[in-house]
Symmetry: D2
Subunit: 120 residues, 4 copies
Amino acid sequence: MASDGELERLAERLRRFAAAREWERFHTPKNLAMALSGEVGELVAEFQWLTPAESADPDPETRRRIRAELGDVTNYLVRLADLLGVDLIEAAHAKLDENERRYDPALYRGSARKAPPITP
Amino acid sequence: MASDGELERLAERLRRFAAAREWERFHTPKNLAMALSGEVGELVAEFQWLTPAESADPDPETRRRIRAELGDVTNYLVRLADLLGVDLIEAAHAKLDENERRYDPALYRGSARKAPPITP
Amino acid sequence: MASDGELERLAERLRRFAAAREWERFHTPKNLAMALSGEVGELVAEFQWLTPAESADPDPETRRRIRAELGDVTNYLVRLADLLGVDLIEAAHAKLDENERRYDPALYRGSARKAPPITP
Amino acid sequence: MASDGELERLAERLRRFAAAREWERFHTPKNLAMALSGEVGELVAEFQWLTPAESADPDPETRRRIRAELGDVTNYLVRLADLLGVDLIEAAHAKLDENERRYDPALYRGSARKAPPITP
């Protein structure tokens, strides 16, 4: 985690939460990756029957559930990264550095395809 | 997003990344939830054949791939939350508030079961 | 598995495949559920940037990849159910029995909402 | 679907279930892939805090929930394949043909690694 940021403070609170319940032995990276996957499944389920347009403006009750799922996903992601000693912010920027090189705007503008056009 | 933190700066970079490629029309919450799900699937796959103990100490090459997947997951999670106007840190702490009330340490110590014991 | 059906024959081939490679010790239900999740993530990724309409008629190359992912998902699902002694066809019909009772066509026609209308 | 097998009969029942509720418009491949992902998330959640050994012998209540989730997963998988015109059994055997060629038992015996050893 970054040394003094908002994610580090959340990671610290999650450490205390697990310690107070003696849940550290359940919190292996393998198990936490599964828990993250389960929460993301619940998040995806909130959007499954919505059209893409509807998904951008969910009704208040759906929005409330989505926010709760996003909180769960964040907690498991931060806990998993903390146990592995990975700084999520650095890892995210490193992936963006790579993607900025890989997806040249001149070749990929407006297209979601993965392969660049043969004649740009 | 929190107004001036590390997640807000990442969200801003992701906005510019999408705008430069005119990818905003692909970035509906529905589509981003799917992309998040796909990346979490890749993360889970890194752990699937490891024992829980092995997962806590992956070899350098596996660790490098896990870090890259964690970066992808973070980017899609932050982008999704940004489009929905959800502050991930606030949402995570709100879920922790709820879980601290729900899982009384006196009842749940050392146990992963969801239901409290009948005679605590 | 059903006693003599197409799923049972697939389960039997999967048993021989694992035995020939001495992979049984990796094939715990926990690990197989993770592998299934990873393959479903790859399947979801095929559809993530498509509109719902486009997803109904993928181009030949996308269709080829989707079919391969559906094969992977089926193999892990059948292997997991086989190890747990669950007959997938019976389990599926049992869930459909339940859903037919739960979602009365008179109340749910044309609606994906989960709660019935207050005044049907 | 195979022309007269148990999966074809299940697909036919799912068609009637959707038609009776006029849910066909929700059942695009994109949406069904998301629903499948959500159900697999629920399945994974059943195993997340179990050790690999415990996952092989779940208690009766957990086993009952796992069976129900396997039923849900099967239903969405069969419905998705039906809409895309993919025969799951053929797709699964095609993937196994490929994997039998790719993972030579002499090189992969007892190992879950993906790359063959340099000196077999």
